[in-house]
């Protein structure tokens, strides 16, 4: 299977503070990768840099064979990278339907249309005409995921989709994620809940203070991941 996303030596900063230091990894087509790490480890910055919302300071990003390091975010969406941002970031004064439609790309054909998205998230059907700012956390999360899906992405990036949600809503979100994974969508998800993350992902990447400290699949034990998460083991050379 070919590598869909390839990140090499990526560096990103917030002003002068480094947030992502020399991170390299690959994601193959159809994989689900969990990106874990404590707060401030750089996970959100890494996702945003891959999506193009944050400028990289050094390194390279290759997507489907093309170097997209200098490509602007809206162009990356066009090529098939969609990010569900931390905090959902819906357009507050647009309705649910408008939030979805505004992200639809007629040039990216696929299974996801306004109707199929609403089928996948039936709770949104009665909320079509409601302003996004009035939705609950779970409803917003469903809209945000739908908004990413409607562009028929090849790579779906999810940043802390369970944050601030009631457990029952988190259940619902992960149920739909499982369906997506079974459908073959390539996913990288950031998740603070280690248990959840490892339950859906085939591979885990752990970050600490901007660096990638652990990477592996089912061969990794829970202890190894926990140690890497808290920085209790040395960074691999």
């Amino acid at each position: 299977m070919s590598s869909l996303l390839s990140v090499q030596g990526l560096e990103a900063r917030h002003g002068l503070l480094p947030a992502v230091r020399g991170v390299s990894f690959e994601v193959t087509d159809g994989e689900t990768v969990a990106l874990v790490g404590a707060n401030g480890a750089g996970k959100t910055t890494l996702l945003r840099t891959i999506a193009g919302a944050h400028k990289s300071a050094a390194g390279q990003i290759r997507f489907d064979g093309d170097d997209i390091t200098r490509v602007r975010a809206h162009d990356r969406l066009r090529r098939g990278i969609a990010l569900v941002p931390e905090g959902r970031r819906l357009f507050p004064d647009l309705t649910v339907e408008e939030n979805l439609l505004v992200a639809a790309r007629p040039d990216r054909k696929g299974q996801w249309t306004l109707d199929t998205v609403l089928e996948a998230f039936p709770l949104l059907k009665p909320l079509r005409g409601r302003r996004a700012a009035t939705l609950s956390g779970g409803e917003q999360q469903a809209t945000a995921i739908g908004r990413a899906l409607i562009s028929n992405p090849r790579l779906l990036l999810l940043d802390e989709v369970s944050l601030g949600l009631a457990p029952i809503a988190v259940e619902a979100v992960y149920r739909s994620l499982t369906t997506l994974i079974e459908g073959g969508t390539t996913i990288v998800l950031v998740e603070q809940d280690l248990k959840r993350a490892t339950s859906v992902a085939s591979r885990v990447i752990c970050m600490l203070e901007g660096r990638l400290v652990l990477e592996g699949g089912s061969e990794l034990t829970r202890e190894q991941i926990t140690e890497a998460y808290f920085g209790l083991r040395k960074a691999p050379t």
């Binding site: 999506a51 193009g52 919302a53 602007r72 975010a73 809206h74 969406l77 066009r78 969609a82 990010l83 941002p85 970031r89 819906l90 357009f91 507050p92 004064d93 647009l94 309705t95 408008e98 939030n99 439609l101 505004v102 992200a103 790309r105 908004r147 990413a148 562009s151």
Partner: protein
Amino acid sequence: MTWTNAVIQGVFLGGFYALLACGLSLMFGLMRIVNLAHGDIAVLGAYLITVVLDHWGVSPFIGFVAVLPIMLALGYLLQRVILERSLRSGVLVPLLTTFGLAIVIQNLLLEKFSPDVRSLGGDAGWITTASWQITNQVSIPAIGALALVVAIATLGGLQLYLSRTPSGRRMRATAQDPDTAELVGIDSRSVYAWGTAIAVGTAALAGMFLAMRSTFDPYAGSTQLIFAFEAVVIGGLGSLWGTLVGGIVLGVSQTIGAQIDPQYSVLAGDLVFLAVLASPRGGIFRARLAS
């Protein structure tokens, strides 16, 4: 002129102000920029129309149609070349940049055209002088009515564009959150550029009416900017319809002031503006491109 007539004339004047202000309101709602060169751009439009008229002797309406594509292109370039950069540099820079641009436009016009006042009222034909006599004291000027109708149509058209069309939707999304807009595939720079182009286009339209209903000179832009800004602030809300209300209130204030004493007309509008600023609402306009 009776008081009733003064109010009616004020409403029509307000229509013109609303048309003048809608571009300013649009740019602020979209990008949080107050384009200090907005008035001068309207005057530039007026002068370009006079160039067309002087060469081909057509009516100002045809002149506007000829000038519109140029103005739209200028607006697009203005955003891409100048304003885009200034947006990234903090809040002071767009003010300073657009102020510099205003000075440049004013004085380029002064160099190219004489400092004498001009008017296209004569070239517009019957419409500038015609009016409908409603009662003994009240008459409706044709040009005023036209300006009001065009203002309502423009504001309504813009509102429809924003709420019903895909590209209008994209513009609203970009206004609310430009970073996330990029993430969902919207080219925010292009959206901003089109927004500025539309704003400049409406300014040119206002410039045409300015040329037809009164005189103008190269330095008239400053006054037009102040009127436009006053209309936006008085209208308060930031929705485009608020601009219509603000324009009409400003127009009526000015005509009522003029009724007391012709010298007081602009002053009356200024005082109403200052009163709105001083009120608890304070003229703070949470301008969003509201649906």
